[in-house]
Each structure stands twice: as structure tokens, then as C-alpha cells.
């Protein structure tokens, strides 16, 4: 075997020269995406984040933040938003959870099941506007239920449709929106609740309620809580439904933000909008962090199909 002459090809550790750069060229592939996401996602986020810390003239200051924080109106809206979000999250979680549970206990491949799931997905993603109209058609002026109520129980709240526009009304409306979302998010968890666990518990002598208390509920709770958090965020961020329904600009935080941004009566205050947004985002991030933690815990248990 004769020795071959060869040129020195690159350095001993490969960290210099053309060989190094060839490896790094792969990073170019993400540039287009970075451009688009930079423009449409990162820039707006940065805009809001930095804008919240500016005053009317663009200088760094926390004055607007403080102003918003202390503003009675803003606080009122914020409290409303939080309250409604929490209530609808819990209500939606419970009702949706029960509904999902009922579905799972029925025929999983059955006709009703399929329709229910399909309907849920449509309602969950399709929107605030249509849902509002659905409700108006039912409970609003000249709506079906309202009319029936007029005839049957003319003094009940159902007969007079102004309740729709108050806190209770919005909550009911939002809940209508939350239930399908809950079904979609929680159904996989219920489906993963292996019947073998129930069987094992029975075989070991456990009674039905013991199974639930010791096994079923502890396993379901993190997912349930996670789903509820998701519902909370969903409700908190919702704008479409409220905007379609009412014209009050300071009832809920998203509405306030919209007004601050687009008000035509000269009250447009972008900095205010950004500050409000900033506080919104803080709430959402907190909720989402908890959600992520819960999901991590659950995914350790669940064996994905």
C-alpha cells in the first residue's frame, strides 16, 4: 500500500476556514420566516411592549402605565373582564366537561357523537359575531325565547331582553362559546382515561365512588384545570362577541383598547391602548404559564395514542 500525497484539507479541528461556514449556511433557511414573523408578530409585540413605557411624546416613561393603572375606568373594565372570564371559564369548564363526559359514555363512533364534535369545532373557532346573533335571535328583542317568555311569564327577566347587555348576559353568551371549546380540549383526556384503570380498581375491590375519588378525579384534575385556564384566556381575550353586542366602550378591557386605538372623537391615545394591552398580556402570560406547567405534568402521565 503506497502512501498518498494529499493537500492539507482544512485545519485539525475544523473550526476555521471554509468548512466552518459551510455548516452555518443552514441558518439562512430560516431567514424568510424570520422576516415575516418579525414583521407581523414580533414588531407588533415590541411596539406594544415598548409603547406602554412611553408617554405621549415618545419619551421613556411609566406615566401612561401608572395613569392606566390608577384609572377608575380602566380598573372597572379590567375587573369586569377578569370576573367574567373567571366565571365563564368555570361555568364552561363544568358544563363542557359534563357534556364531554356524556359524549364519551355514549357511542364513541356514533352519529350523535360525530355531529356533536363537528358542531363544537365549528362553534369554537368560528366566532364571536355569529354567536352573538344566535343569542340575539334567541333572547333578544323579538327573539324566540323572549317571545315565549312574554306570553308565558311576562315579568321574568327573560321577557325583557335588556339583561343580555349586562354582566350576566355577557357571561351567558360567553359560556355558550366556551362549552364547545371545553369539549374539544377535554375530550381527548377523557378518551385517554383507560377503562383498564377502572377495571383494575374494581378487581382490587374498589367501589365506584372510591375509584373516582382516588383515581379518576386526581388524574383528570390537571387536565381539567388546564382546560379551564384555556377557557379563561379565551374569554379574557375575546373581543368579537362583546363588540358586536354592545357599544359601551369601557365595559371590558378589549373594548377599551379598541376605543383607545380608534376613537374618532379625538380621544385616540395609542399609548393608552398599549398600556392596557400590556396589562392584558401580563394576565394572559401568567395564565398560559400555569397552563404549560399543568400540561407538562399531564403529558408525563398520558400515553399518546
Amino acid at each position: 500500500m503506497t502512501q498518498l500525497q494529499y493537500k492539507g484539507t482544512g485545519s485539525a479541528n475544523g473550526r476555521t476556514g471554509s468548512r466552518y461556514w459551510r455548516g452555518k449556511s443552514a441558518y439562512l433557511g430560516v431567514v424568510p420566516f424570520l422576516l415575516v414573523s418579525g414583521l407581523f408578530l414580533l414588531y407588533p409585540t415590541w411596539n406594544v411592549a415598548s409603547g406602554a413605557f412611553q408617554d405621549k411624546h415618545g419619551k421613556f416613561s411609566t406615566s401612561v402605565l401608572k395613569e392606566v393603572f390608577n384609572s377608575k375606568v380602566a380598573r372597572h373594565a379590567f375587573a369586569n373582564s377578569l370576573e367574567i372570564s373567571a366565571k365563564t371559564a368555570i361555568a364552561g369548564a363544568i358544563l363542557g366537561g359534563l357534556f364531554a363526559w356524556a359524549l364519551v359514555n355514549g357511542k364513541p363512533g356514533g352519529y350523535f357523537y360525530r355531529v356533536a364534535v363537528a358542531l363544537s369545532s365549528v362553534l369554537a373557532q368560528f366566532g364571536g359575531v355569529m354567536l352573538t346573533f344566535a343569542f340575539l335571535a334567541t333572547f333578544g328583542f323579538n327573539g324566540l325565547v323572549a317571545n315565549i317568555a312574554l306570553k308565558v311569564a311576562p315579568h321574568s327577566f327573560l321577557a325583557d331582553s335588556s339583561w343580555l347587555y349586562g354582566k350576566f348576559g355577557i357571561s351567558v353568551l360567553y359560556t355558550f362559546f366556551q362549552i364547545p371549546l371545553m369539549v374539544l380540549v377535554f375530550l381527548p383526556t377523557l378518551e385517554n382515561l383507560k377503562p383498564q384503570w377502572r377495571e383494575a380498581s374494581d378487581a382490587l375491590g374498589g367501589k365506584a365512588h372510591e375509584y373516582w375519588v382516588r383515581i379518576g378525579i386526581p388524574i383528570l384534575t390537571p387536565s381539567f384545570a388546564g382546560a379551564a385556564l384555556l377557557l379563561f384566556v379565551n374569554s379574557f381575550s375575546a373581543y368579537a362577541t362583546a363588540a358586536t353586542l354592545i357599544n359601551l366602550s369601557d365595559f371590558l378591557t378589549p373594548l377599551e383598547i379598541a376605543t383607545a386605538l380608534t376613537s374618532e372623537t379625538g380621544g385616540a391615545n395609542p399609548a393608552e391602548a398599549k398600556s392596557l394591552s400590556f396589562f392584558m398580556v401580563v394576565v394572559v402570560i401568567i395564565a398560559m404559564t400555569f397552563y404549560a406547567l399543568l400540561r407538562k405534568r399531564v403529558s408525563r402521565w398520558e400515553q399518546r395514542r
Binding site: V30, L41, Y43, V129, F135, L184, Y239, L261, V284, A292
Partner: protein
């Protein structure tokens, strides 16, 4: 039993929509009528809005197929170190409600409509970001399920260049993931109201709301029609594909 209760809860409003939309309105009609429904095609704004929404959806689809999916594949294949940051970036829209994004994008939108064109570009761009969490999740699941590294290497040794590997080999392999992700994306685009309303861009939902302020019957009719339409479409997809498309809402 519970089904009955919740079922009623869900069905009643739908039925009332039907009922409401067929009520008489105006002073000419007596009794039930489908006039509200018949007027639908005649609403000029509506048709324009529907087409605008569809065009926006098409642009978003293009962005998905030619930007998001290839980038996701590229990261999974070649840049494993970037995978976690990329995932986090794709999940960011979850933490930023639409209302907040629109606050941030407003100046850019103004600039583009003044200097370039009042077309769905900005909106599509923003939408493509909004759908990232859902779409990326579908993609990610599909990419993890298949050994894309071996497939890519096999294709390369047979002579394929990068473009062919991504579009000809990997993308067909993760087809289901792409379809699922796109489905959710389109639903979101067509159902989006917040951003388009504030930016004053007349999409489908915006116009429905608009109509609702003047003519309740028609608005309700349109809403019901679209819900039913999508429902029927959805039921036409065979069960297996649909189940994964629809139940894939789990986010993190």
C-alpha cells in the same frame, strides 16, 4: 340526560336563528317568510366581503405551504438547536391576544395601505402568525412521527436537491399534519373579526356584523347559513381524518 340538557342549550339558539331569520320584517310581509334568506345574494357588500375573506384565506394557505411548512421542516431537519426557540416563537401568539396584536400592527398597516396597496397582505401576514400555534402543533406532531432524517438522506443519496427533498419527499409524507393544520387555519381566518374590524378591513365577519346593525333578520340568516355550511362540509370528511383535525386543539 345531560346530553339532552346541553344539547338543548346548543340547539335552541340555532333553532331560534332559523326562526328569527324567517320572521317577517319590514311592513310588507305577514307570517313566515324566507325573504331574509333570499336577499342574501343581493347584498353587494356581502359578496365582496366573502371573496375578500376567501382571498385572504388563499394567501394564508400559500404562506403556510411555502413558508411555514418548509421552515418547520428545515428546522426539524437541519437546525435542531433552533427547535426549542422556534417552537416558542410559534406559541407566542397564544400569549398575545388578537386585540393586542392589532394595537401593535396598526401603524404598519397604515403605512402599507398608504404606500403600497389596500389589499389583504397585511391581514394575511398577521393571520399567518395567529394560526402558528395550531398549525405548528399539527406539523410538529407529524414531523416527529416520521423519521424524516433518514428519508431526507435517502433522497439525497439518490440525487435529490434540497428543494425536492422538502417539497417532493417530506411534505407528502406529513400530508395529514399539513391538512389538519390548514383546516384549523382556514377556520380561524374566516371566523376572525377582531383585527379586521379594528383595521376597518371588510372581511366576512365584519360585514355580517355590519348588516346586523341595520337588518337583523338577514344577519341572522347569513350566520346560520354559514354555520350550517361549514357543518355540512365538516361532516363530509371521513371520520378518521376529521377526528384528528378537530380534536387537535391541545396546545402546549
Amino acid at each position: 340526560m345531560i346530553i339532552g340538557f346541553v344539547g338543548t342549550y346548543l340547539i335552541v339558539p340555532l333553532y331560534s336563528m332559523y326562526d328569527f331569520s324567517t320572521k317577517p320584517f319590514g311592513f310588507q310581509d305577514k307570517g313566515r317568510t324566507f325573504r331574509a334568506w333570499k336577499i342574501i345574494p343581493g347584498q353587494p357588500d356581502l359578496i365582496a366581503a366573502i371573496s375578500r375573506s376567501l382571498i385572504t384565506a388563499a394567501i394564508v394557505m400559500a404562506l403556510i405551504l411555502f413558508l411555514i411548512v418548509p421552515t418547520a421542516i428545515w428546522v426539524h431537519l437541519k437546525l435542531p438547536a433552533l427547535r426549542r426557540p422556534f417552537e416558542l416563537l410559534c406559541l407566542l401568539p397564544l400569549a398575545i391576544p388578537a386585540i393586542v396584536i392589532v394595537v401593535g400592527i396598526a401603524p404598519l398597516y397604515r403605512w402599507i395601505s398608504i404606500h403600497l396597496t389596500e389589499s389583504p397582505i397585511t391581514l394575511s401576514g398577521v393571520y399567518s402568525m395567529l394560526i402558528l400555534p395550531y398549525t405548528y402543533r399539527s406539523l410538529s406532531a407529524a414531523l416527529d412521527a416520521v423519521d424524516i432524517h433518514t428519508l431526507a438522506e435517502a433522497a439525497r443519496t439518490l440525487g435529490a436537491d434540497t428543494r425536492r427533498v422538502i417539497f417532493g419527499i417530506i411534505m407528502p409524507t406529513i400530508k395529514t399534519g399539513i391538512v389538519n393544520g390548514s383546516f384549523i387555519a382556514i377556520a380561524l381566518v374566516l371566523g376572525e373579526y377582531t383585527i379586521s374590524n379594528i383595521l376597518n378591513y371588510k372581511t366576512f365577519q365584519v360585514v355580517i356584523a355590519q348588516i346586523g346593525r341595520t337588518n337583523g333578520n338577514v344577519a341572522v340568516a347569513v350566520s346560520l347559513a354559514s354555520i350550517l355550511f361549514v357543518l355540512v362540509l365538516l361532516l363530509l370528511i371521513p371520520t378518521k381524518k376529521r377526528r384528528s383535525a378537530v380534536l387537535d386543539v391541545d396546545l402546549v
